[in-house]
């Protein structure tokens, strides 16, 4: 049987379907590395986050007066940090973001996307997104409130720097700002650490307890 060029093309296309499973899996689960965004867009994203943070801070200052009436919460006077409990301890007990997400895996409120499915990057809403190391699926929180955004903004980028050896983490975590920018609480705040999709990274800092506390509240609500 003679094979025309068209037949050969079809044969080639069919045989591409016989490539090894791990190659297909790699392509399906590939996450791009972070890329530098134009400085103007980065500046605009950061200004947007700062504006939201300042607005929510003003609202939170008014709302926070209610906590003292019941005597259950001690107001430490700093509305950008979670309040201490009656014994003067930071809540929650979970000391790291990684441990929190692992322990919350079965009972927290979030959406799991299908493999290969991308979250909404440009719908004007802010989301917390994470991925467990043993899974190819992305987990997405509900849209964050203004107060939650301001809480996260106040503590993001303020964690301790990692040592020479990057810590072994069970989750990758990102924040989607809703205007196409993607950042990670494990990275220092800089133009080189802003992406347009979720991306792979090596942690540079460890999110502080204030950040973890905010995330805990988000997952529990």
């Amino acid at each position: 049987m003679k094979h025309t060029k068209q037949k050969k093309i079809e044969y080639l296309f069919s045989e591409i379907g016989m490539i090894e499973d791990n190659l297909v899996h790699e392509a399906m689960t590939y996450l791009p590395a972070r890329r530098r965004r134009p400085a103007l867009l980065v500046a605009a994203s950061l200004v947007l986050m700062l504006t939201v943070a300042l607005s929510a801070f003003a609202i939170a200052s008014i709302r926070n007066d209610d906590a003292n009436a019941n005597g259950d919460i001690v107001d430490d006077g700093n509305d950008m940090l979670p309040d201490k409990d009656s014994e003067g301890q930071w809540a929650p007990d979970t000391s790291s973001l990684d441990s929190l997400l692992v322990s919350s895996r079965d009972n927290a409120s979030y959406t799991t996307l299908s493999v290969g499915e991308q979250p909404e990057y440009r719908d004007g809403k802010t989301y917390l997104v994470w991925q467990y190391e043993d899974s190819d699926e992305l987990c997405v929180s509900r849209a964050l409130t203004s107060f939650e955004i301001s809480s996260l903004s106040g503590s993001i980028g303020k964690g301790a720097e990692v040592g020479e050896q990057s810590p072994s983490l069970s989750c990758k975590v990102w924040i989607l700002t809703g205007d196409g920018a993607v950042i990670s609480p494990y990275l220092k705040q800089s133009s080189g650490n802003v992406g347009v999709t979720v991306f792979d990274y090596d942690p540079e800092i460890i999110p502080n307890d204030a950040f973890v506390s905010c995330v805990s509240d988000i997952l529990e609500s």
């Binding site: 094979h3 050969k8 044969y11 016989m18 392509a27 399906m28 791009p32 299908s114 493999v115």
Partner: protein, 183 residues
């Protein structure tokens, strides 16, 4: 649910395996099928047929990567359906086939029979020789049948770069097929 847990369900003939497969991979499989067939209704049918095929293939098969395993079945079923229907998709699947024409050696003589399995070996070898980013690009375009713009968004790369890279990869593959006297 992890892949191995769903595969165990198939092996145990637990029908929830299909429901779990659909939850985890259904959307991706439908997109892959739609890229070939241009019809969501047909894509849905192909995906349903995929689960039937997978049910029949297990036990015996025990795939490590269930998504890849199901994708191959969906792709094969979709291509077969496309051939039977003789449909021509404008600007999508048809353009993918036209691009692959670049890989056919220009002076190739008429081949009487294809060497069974050898072309797949050469393709695997070719892909493993590429950088990861290029490999992913090629597979997303010619296995998953994604559009250039979908690949651009998913890989955070410009469309021009993707087109250029794929062009060069097709040229390289053609040289390899000429040297190997395949096609």
């Amino acid at each position: 649910m992890e892949d191995y847990e769903i595969v165990n369900m198939y092996w145990a003939r637990d029908e929830r395996a299909i429901e779990q497969s659909d939850t985890k991979y259904g959307r991706m499989l439908k997109s892959l099928s739609y890229s070939v067939l241009s019809s969501w209704e047909d894509a849905e049918e192909c995906v349903n047929d995929t689960y039937l095929d997978a049910w029949g293939a297990m036990p015996e098969a025990r795939p490590t990567y269930l998504g890849a395993f199901l994708s191959k079945i969906t792709r094969r079923i979709s291509i077969d359906r496309f051939r039977r229907a003789h449909r021509q998709k404008r600007g999508g699947f048809e353009s993918i086939m036209e691009e692959l024409g670049d890989c056919i050696p220009s002076d190739s003589s008429v081949v009487e029979e294809y060497e069974n399995g050898r072309l797949a070996e050469v393709l695997n070898s070719f892909l493993y020789s590429q950088e990861k980013e290029k490999r992913v690009m090629f597979i997303r375009r010619y296995f998953c049948s994604q559009s250039i713009s979908e690949i651009s968004r998913g890989m955070n790369l410009g469309e021009a770069k993707i087109k250029t890279t794929l062009f060069r990869m097709r040229e390289e593959l053609r040289r390899i097929l000429e040297e190997q006297e395949l096609l």
